[in-house]
């Protein structure tokens, strides 16, 4: 009889008492604060505060090693009369515009190609992502060597083929340098665009294409009225990112031309760096960097709302 009494006792093991720390952390408000603190703290100290500090620095004449005083709009007035600054504004806009068109045109084409049934598909995707993975500066150095005035491999091939008599001038005159940099940027940007758009393409249901084919559509019509509208939401996000990071690009230009020849390929970021860090004029550099913010806000709003509104219209049309 007593033996049957014992086993139930063995089953009801008492729950271990929580210590004070565990009980505190189970209190939701405290847990939320504890979880958010590292991320929010780091971002506040090293992102939000510097953003404000940068705007404040733009209105001072701070130099390296010397605290600045408030000078009002002096930096901006000087900038507006500076042809090098206006040249940088022009090239930043031109570089962003042309490179974005190139990247998205070629990237969309590559994504459409990859969307077919191909052998070794995952290997192919991995290889295609390579230019995007490898550090930008290191590939920029490879391009610098490819663009070498004397030993360019492209010049060699063109001369061997008999298409040219002299070496191609890639980075020694203003316009050729500008186009060469854009080509390198497009080369580096294609993989990201292609792989993200491929993800978008794969979510489009094949039954839409079947229905369109039964209705006797041409391939162009299928692209224009099915693929493109279905791709717009992803296109909007990827394009916003691409525009922002192309406009504020630094590495490629700094590595290949350093803004030369004769300041013709300066982007706003490289000009800000040149004035701010080696030049020591932190206030002026900050003013140039701050002048990027309106362009960025405008580009973001434009690409986001232009594409988002069309998506909304398309969506309503479909319903």
């Amino acid at each position: 009889m007593t033996q049957t009494q014992d086993p139930p006792l063995a089953w009801t093991r008492r729950r271990r008492e929580l210590n004070w720390l565990e009980r505190m952390l189970d209190w939701k408000p405290l847990l939320v604060v504890a979880c958010m603190l590292p991320a929010v703290g780091l971002l506040m100290v090293f992102l939000t505060y510097p953003l404000g500090l940068g705007i404040w620095l733009a209105f001072t004449d701070t130099q390296i090693g010397r605290k600045g005083v408030w000078v009002g709009l002096e930096n901006f007035e000087y900038m507006l009369e500076d042809p090098i600054f206006w040249n940088a504004v022009f090239y930043s806009v031109f570089y962003t515009g042309v490179a974005t068109i190139g990247k998205f045109g070629l990237g969309l084409w590559l994504a459409l190609l990859l969307n077919n049934h191909l052998p070794f598909k995952s290997l192919l995707r991995a290889i295609i992502l390579l230019p995007w993975i490898v550090p930008t500066v290191l590939t920029a150095i490879a391009f610098w060597w490819i663009y070498n005035p004397q030993f360019s491999i492209i010049s060699y091939v063109l001369i061997e083929l008999g298409w040219r008599d002299t070496n191609v001038d890639f980075i020694n005159t203003a316009w050729s340098a500008r186009w060469s940099l854009i080509a390198a940027n497009v080369w580096r940007g294609i993989p990201f665009v292609a792989i993200s758009l491929l993800a978008g393409l794969q979510t489009i249901s094949p039954s839409l294409y079947e229905a369109a084919m039964l209705d006797g559509s041409t391939p162009w019509q299928r692209f224009r009225y099915i693929t493109f509208p279905m791709l717009l939401p992803i296109l909007a996000i990827v394009m916003t990112f691409s525009i922002i990071f192309t406009f504020t690009d630094f590495q490629l230009v700094y590595a290949i031309t350093r803004g030369g020849p004769v300041n013709s390929t300066h982007l706003l970021a490289t000009l800000a760096f040149q004035r701010g860090i080696p030049g020591g004029q932190l206030g002026e550099g900050a003013a140039i960097a701050v002048s990027m913010i309106p362009f960025l806000v405008f580009a973001t709003l434009f690409s986001y709302f232009a594409l988002a509104r069309r998506k909304w219209q398309q969506g309503e049309g479909d319903d």
Partner: protein, 310 residues
């Protein structure tokens, strides 16, 4: 044992036999009436051109890194596309005459520490935003997302003055603390998406069984989120390995530079560029990232596309 395996493989073969017909029946191109030669022209030829252009700079980088100087600057007598007598001179110069091993080591330490720091911070933040659902959590999520849109080229000048005042100038710690500014927003964003895919019922069961929130995070959510954590880690590691502008602005002494900065500022000296050594340095600097990424490429691609789909 072998019989069983053979049986399994034959079963697999039988299982595999029907599909080759099936996908073709539903594949889009089977619906159109294009011939094989047209397919070659419209798909394989452009694809081959893309691959050639995307990969050529890497081929050219590797060829240059192993070419002796005599061949490097003489296209008349040697075919530039091939190496006549491969040499390790450039790599030897790089490894033993420069601080290259140290640069590599610094880069790895900085990338590793900032990755760990931002992974911890963003896992906690993503968990709080996605699972604890406090008041205004979606606005905090949006703010963190917007933080990703603030580019480093706007922040480096004020950060340089801050780094100077904190006494961190010319120290790897400056990089370890500033890299999370672009890593945390990205990782948090990625992990919020990942946590969303884990069924909430699992956590509810654990709550009913009397687990604390911390236990749930540690014992249930985190083990399930390992693939997401791995891809966030890869992203962070490659992004910090690639970072250039902060490392250029905050580090001055030769031996503390990271690989991308050091190659550009230390190997390019005077008027004569050591192209062989430059290319060897670029190649060696690319290999760790490429290797690291090739092990996890599936995670990488799926999280990249998953993050974009969000």
């Amino acid at each position: 044992m072998t019989d069983a395996r053979a049986a399994a493989t034959t079963a697999d073969d039988h299982g595999m036999a029907p599909p080759p017909d099936k996908p073709q029946a539903t594949a889009p191109e089977a619906l159109s009436w294009d011939s094989r030669s047209r397919r070659v022209v419209t798909i394989y030829v452009p694809l081959a051109c893309f691959l050639f252009i995307l990969l050529f700079p890497f081929y050219w980088m590797s060829v240059t890194a192993f070419k002796p100087n005599a061949e490097l600057y003489d296209y008349k007598t040697y075919n530039p596309f091939w190496i006549g007598s491969p040499t390790l001179d450039h790599i030897h110069l790089l490894l033993f005459k420069t601080d290259y091993p140290r640069w590599l080591w610094t880069t790895m330490i900085v990338a590793f520490c900032s990755t760990v720091l931002s992974l911890v911070a963003s896992t906690l933040a993503a968990y709080a935003i996605q699972r604890l659902r406090f008041k205004g959590s979606q606005y905090v999520g949006l703010a963190i997302y917007l933080a990703y849109l603030v580019p480093p080229s706007i922040l480096f000048i004020p950060l340089a003055t801050m780094v100077f005042q904190l006494g961190l100038f010319d120290s790897p710690l400056a990089l370890i603390l500033t890299y999370p500014t672009f890593l945390i927003p990205f990782c948090t964003w990625l992990l919020i998406g990942y946590f969303k895919s884990i069924p909430y019922e699992l956590e509810e069961c654990a709550l009913i069984d009397g687990a604390t929130r911390v236990q749930i995070l540690w014992r249930i959510t985190l083990p399930l989120a390992v693939p997401g954590l791995i891809s966030a880690g890869i992203f962070s590691f490659t992004l910090s390995w690639n970072e250039f502008i902060y490392a250029l602005a905050f580090i001055q002494s030769t031996e503390k530079k990271t690989v991308p900065v050091a190659i550009l500022t230390e190997l390019v000296t005077g008027d004569v560029y050591q192209w062989g050594a430059l290319m060897a340095g670029s190649l060696l600097g690319s290999i760790p990232v490429a290797l690291f990424y090739s092990f996890f490429v599936d995670y990488y691609v799926s999280s990249l596309t998953g993050a974009v789909k969000e």
